[in-house]
């Protein structure tokens, strides 16, 4: 377990390093240079342009600039926003908290309804299964930006239960403001997880050892807990981890739709403003979220059963 943990942490570091290179490189290779952002629509003289480039260290070769940036990041200095002049860390700080709360709230909904619906469908063949199947078939096709529009028009505009844009203050207001965006993020994921759960449970329920466990006189709930759910857990865990990391990426759309001041919205505005240091930082954060989710899922697999390699793997 300790070795696995070290292995995963090493992998995390390498992935972040490689993706930081890719992000740093691609942003500077992309058309539109950083100093143009500062000048805006003005046409600066060559001397002024060179002075700004020197000020931003843009006259140095790319590897040197990358190294400077990397050592800064390792010391907790992500640079300054080129638009507002604030340190990037302080711009990220608040947004990160909001986005983490949004993703957590959304995943709680996904776990609650996805696992619930999937379990109900698996254990009750017939009407319940068919109804769940119909529901998930429809909702799996509702992308978050469509869901956002629908939810805003119904619950915020017509019913006025929730704010249509922005979030309130205090814990209560924040949760109230995040509930609609969380739902928008959760709808597709719920349906996906419900399907994965249903199929994983069905596969286990059809196993001979499960069918005959009742013949051995074991109570039904023991059979479900120890033989069905336990063996169905690996694919479900994999799905949850993939959905969680995917949700981080989808916050870009949903936070913009609901004007939630999180990382997603910050990414969109920074990209539009070509605020390079901020874009670099948020891209790196998204990569980190992906890698951390995967690492947690692998650790979870190892916790469920260190020697379980064949049963229930979705790969």
């Amino acid at each position: 377990m300790g070795r696995l943990l070290l292995h995963r942490l090493g992998g995390l570091a390498v992935t972040l390093l490689l993706s930081s290179m890719a992000i740093f490189g691609s942003l500077y290779l992309a058309p539109g240079s950083p100093e143009d952002v500062l000048f805006g629509s003005r046409a600066p003289s060559a001397a002024a342009r060179a002075a700004v480039a020197r000020e931003l260290h843009l006259d140095r070769p790319l590897p040197v600039r990358y190294w400077d940036w990397l050592t800064g990041v390792l010391h907790g200095d992500l640079g300054r926003s080129m638009v507002t002049g604030q340190p990037v860390t302080s711009r990220l700080g608040h947004g990160l908290g909001v986005t983490l709360a949004l993703v957590a709230l959304s995943m709680i909904l996904v776990l609650l309804f996805g696992l619930g619906l999937g379990t109900a469908a698996a254990l009750r063949p017939g009407a319940v299964d068919a109804a769940t199947n119909a529901l998930t078939s429809v909702s799996v096709t509702v992308p978050p930006f469509v869901a956002s529009t629908l939810l805003i028009s119904v619950f915020a505009v017509r019913l006025d239960w929730f704010p249509a844009s922005g979030i309130g203050t205090g814990a209560g207001g924040e949760i109230r403001g995040l509930l609609l965006p969380a739902c928008a993020l959760a709808i597709t994921n719920c349906a996906f997880l419900a399907r994965v759960t249903r199929n994983a449970l069905r596969e286990q329920l059809e196993r001979e050892h499960v069918q005959t466990a009742l013949v051995r006189g074991l109570p039904r709930w023991v059979v479900l807990r120890d033989h069905v759910f336990r063996n169905a857990l690996p694919p479900i865990l994999t799905a949850v981890s993939l959905l969680t990391s995917g949700t981080f990426a989808t916050t870009l759309v949903v936070e913009t739709a609901f004007a939630v001041p999180g990382i997603g919205q910050l990414t969109i505005t920074s990209v539009a403003q070509k605020d390079f240091p901020v874009v670099q930082a948020v891209s790196l954060l998204l990569v980190a979220a992906f890698v951390i989710c995967n690492a947690l899922s692998d650790l979870g697999h190892a916790l469920i059963d260190p020697r379980l390699r064949t049963a229930g793997r979705t790969t």
């Binding site: 051995r216 109570p219 049963a311």
Partner: protein
């Protein structure tokens, strides 16, 4: 005279199967089967694939609902499957089953010891302190070493897995054991070991066996009586020696002739 271990009378099972033209036809998998296994006795059910042998076993353990007829085990009726936990638990202590495929009949995440312990927890009136002793005794009875007892099914061979399945069935201390092709999936030398093990267990416990097999040699070794099944119907029934050595029915003769014997050449 004591009650029969298993008594089956007029047992039938009809399946609805698609007829290929959009409709359904009724297929009689088991047709008016009547037999009895006396207390401590052993009956072999033989027949080709699809003759309804396994369907009978599945109805007896309650995995399948009988379409007609009655079944009793140790004199208690079990013609319909039960949903009540107490009754299911009681039935499990009367009759247990060992299936053909030890690869699918064991939970892949459960060691042999855990599988046996789980059954003991729900059946035997043993304290948590006494259970390990009983588990160890069962492991020894079926010939599994300490190391094998802690291994997962995927680290065990087919024969070892079947020993686990047998130990798990014995843990409930049933009075009747159904062996549904329990040695058919094993290679010949392992088959002989398991057949010997089953003979020893029967001698030690006085358990009644209902052996389902297409292998006449195994039936001859383990059973006193035999019943020949063809397309769901009983063709011939009697003591092992009588039916297998001097079959009256043509079908039984053909079953017997289909067994390869020393000197047998394909196509001869």
């Amino acid at each position: 005279m004591s009650v029969d271990a298993v008594s089956v009378s007029g047992l039938s099972k009809t399946f609805r199967v698609p007829d290929g033209k959009g409709g359904h036809i009724r297929h009689m998998a088991v047709d008016q089967v009547t037999f009895a296994v006396e207390a401590g006795g052993s009956l072999g059910i033989v027949g080709e694939s699809g003759s309804g042998k396994t369907t009978i076993a599945r109805m007896l353990v309650g995995l399948e609902r009988a379409s007609g007829g009655s079944m009793t085990v140790l004199g208690r009726d079990r013609s319909t499957p039960t949903r009540r936990a107490v009754e299911r638990n009681r039935r499990a202590r009367e009759l247990q089953i060992v299936f053909q495929d030890p690869y699918t009949s064991l939970d892949p995440s459960q060691s042999a010891r855990a599988a046996v312990d789980e059954v003991l927890r729900h059946h035997a009136k043993l304290t948590a302190g006494q259970r390990p002793t009983r588990t160890a005794a069962l492991m020894e009875q079926v010939g599994l070493t300490e190391r094998q007892a802690d291994a997962r099914p995927r680290d065990l061979s087919g024969g070892q897995r079947q020993r686990v399945a047998i130990a798990r069935a014995l843990a409930a201390e049933p009075r009747v054991l159904i062996l549904d092709e329990a040695v058919s999936a094993l290679d010949v030398s392992i088959q002989a070991q398991i057949v010997n093990l089953l003979a020893d267990i029967r001698a030690a416990t006085g358990m009644a066996y209902l052996l389902i097999s297409h292998d006449l040699a195994v039936v001859r070794q383990l059973c006193d009586a035999v019943l020949v099944l063809r397309r769901g119907k009983v063709v011939e029934q009697g003591s092992c020696g009588q039916v297998l050595d001097a079959p009256v029915e043509d079908y039984t003769r053909r079953l017997r002739a289909a067994v390869p014997v020393p000197g047998w050449r394909p196509g001869s």
